[in-house]
Symmetry: C2
Subunit: 408 residues, 2 copies
């Protein structure tokens, strides 16, 4: 993509009410546009990052046998009434249509996925089943001041699993923990992310959050100094032992929740009478688990963790482009050739072909934070200068060597 | 994908209030699930078709230089007030948040894209610009009874173009007509789709719809017998000449609108003061066009057009899978081999490995309508039987010949 044609402009200013650094930078670097508090438009750079995160999530969800569907945001009032959440769910946006029909905009989808699963599950042979979607969620947040970390409309991956018994749920729950670690590793935030014990409701003593350490986080986690497992504040009341290693020493960290997993048991299967016939011919309730990842929030968390004072340093797998090609004065023809070759070879490259000074181009490249910066100039002759965004070192490569590096 | 593992069950019944054949079939064949009137869940088959349509649309939009973004559904009240549509837009779902902030759920996005473009457009050098999204729209429809052809929540591609003058808009408008024909050709409905003149508002005499002929359509178009251009009812009042060829003889057809293009002029740029500085240094208003395609509706239109009394006959490029492999009794091992080979070669194949009779499998294959049916049985020995869904002929192929056919 040529920068001169791209709908992306870096900005010197940003909305004054953005208090999180990631959101300030995402706006300044042209990844998102703020519509109003808690509501954003994804611009081409931001959409590319979100699509890459979504691709990673899909691959890891499909690998654990989950199947993708797409549920609507208009969830009828009677579905919420069945579970009692029409009255109690504060974050629900409620609306009424011309036919007086009422809906709650899906803030989570247990109320739709349980009756859907009921149409397909009859016998133990139909279990286990795992369904997920990457879909737009709505939450009527009182305050939305942490930029893309807490929004009123956001992209979420929500997975729901259905099992014949708790043992099978437990096994799948552990599989999902492993899949989540793969996702957070590929997104480059594994080292800063902690599995955190949270309260579990009536069915299970604990649920779990994946919390990524960042100053902009609205949560506080208590990190066990012994085993690095986190505890959130609500379960720390009274009980001062780490649920994993029994340790008693903690470090307090500010963090943002990037994932959340929960053993729901029969909480949502009972209201919808989601049952099955077991091997003996008896009717039993289906046991459920749910597993969320905030996709657009994840972009924010990655942004919080991977930047310096010049701008972003995107991890390779989620960067909006693989390479950022800059042509300096007098080398335009050579740069055009390199660009054409990279495009031909399928390398995602942003080509800064604009009439700007070298200095301005370098500053913007650092702000946008694409991992591989390529410079073609009269000085480099036939070679291309490669600099990784996360390093100060530069190297001169032939175009063959460059292709090998970028493909690898 | 193995059918035994897939979240897809064909059904013998369908909701009694579904009056369109496409929606009855889409529900029976397990493509969509009906949540309530005008609100559907996409199941794996349906999501696959919608993703394929979206891919075609993206390719053709990118080919005319349009750039993808993603705008939110929560459009603030003040944006609608600027254009006067808060009061007048009947189909708008209106809602209020805890902070008393009001939103209209995006039924179309002029009110967001114009102020967004304003942040990027200053000079004639920033024009033309074309932005699109594939995004969920909401419409507060009084009646929603035509299944997926008219829903309250649906996936739409909406493109907005920005120009320095009418001449440039006219050129781009014609480019989009050509791009739309490519899209409808690839979706297999070109022959049944007619460019239809509709009223154009204050800026332009006509707008245009793309209308696909089907009995389930809610529209009536007047098809010029001479040039096959359509006219919708609103522009026929009084004037009985075809705007293209001046012909006076028409045939009335029932049809569904799959696309709609409109020269907006300055209707939405003036309220947001979206202007630019021209070559002479004068301030001028930006001229706008908008271009929609209902993505989920398009699936319905394709379904209406491509079926027989046994089920769907999906066009190759939008079929949920490329091949439907059926193993008959005694040939399971051979079928497993063929399946493994197809998967390895990247052919999207649905493998019916369930313990059902041959007859049941064939009936379901016809209902689902994947274009290439493959049968492996004791009778076929080393060969594989191939039958196209749109033909009665069968052929026996070696696995090499089969791969060549399916790849081509």
């Amino acid at each position: 993509m040529k920068f001169s044609k791209l709908f992306a402009k870096t900005r010197k200013d940003y909305p004054k009410d953005e208090i999180s650094l990631s959101s300030q930078l995402l706006i300044r670097a042209g990844f998102v546009d703020k519509v109003t508090a808690g509501v954003y438009t994804l611009l081409p750079f931001g959409l590319s990052v979100v699509n890459k995160i979504s691709k990673i999530i899909r691959e890891e969800m499909n690998a654990v046998g989950a199947q993708e569907i797409l549920m609507p945001a208009l969830v009828p009032k009677q579905n919420w009434e069945k579970t009692g959440r029409w009255e109690t769910f504060d974050a629900l946006y409620r609306l009424k249509g011309v036919d007086e029909k009422e809906y709650g905009l899906g803030a989570t989808h247990e109320e739709l996925v349980a009756p859907l699963a009921k149409k397909f599950i009859n016998s133990y042979r139909d279990l286990p089943l795992a369904l997920y979607q990457i879909q737009t969620k709505f939450r009527n947040e009182i305050r939305a001041k942490s930029g893309v970390l807490r929004t009123r409309e956001f992209l979420m991956k929500d997975l729901y699993s259905f099992h014949s018994d708790e043992e099978d749920l437990d096994k799948y729950y552990d599989k999902i923990i492993a899949a989540y670690w793969k996702i957070f590793t590929r997104c480059g935030i594994r080292d800063k992310t902690y599995l955190t014990f949270a309260s579990g409701g009536t069915f299970s003593k604990y649920s779990h959050e994946f919390q990524s350490e960042t100053e902009a986080g609205e949560d506080e986690i208590y990190l066990c100094k012994n085993c690095l497992v986190g505890l959130n504040r609500e379960i720390l009341n009274g009980e001062f032992k780490c649920p994993k290693c029994q340790g008693k020493e903690y470090e307090i960290k500010k963090a943002v929740e990037v994932g959340n997993i929960f053993k729901l048991g029969t909480k949502y299967t009972e209201p919808f009478d989601l049952s099955f016939i077991d091997k003996k011919g008896d009717k039993k309730m289906v046991v459920m688990g749910c597993y969320g990842i905030g996709v657009s929030r994840l972009m924010g968390a990655i942004a919080e963790i991977h930047h310096d004072d010049k701008g972003f340093i995107w991890p390779d797998e989620v960067a909006p482009f693989k390479a950022h090609l800059i042509s300096l004065e007098g080398a335009e023809e050579k740069a055009d050739e390199v660009y054409a070759q990279l495009v031909k070879e399928g390398v995602e490259v942003l080509y800064d072909d604009r009439e700007l000074s070298a200095g301005e181009k370098f500053v913007e490249a650092d702000l946008i934070g694409i991992p591989n910066r390529l410079v073609v100039s009269v000085k480099t002759a036939d070679k291309i200068e490669l600099k990784r965004r996360d390093s100060e070192k530069t190297g001169l490569l032939s175009s063959e060597a460059l292709l090998k590096t970028l493909r690898g």
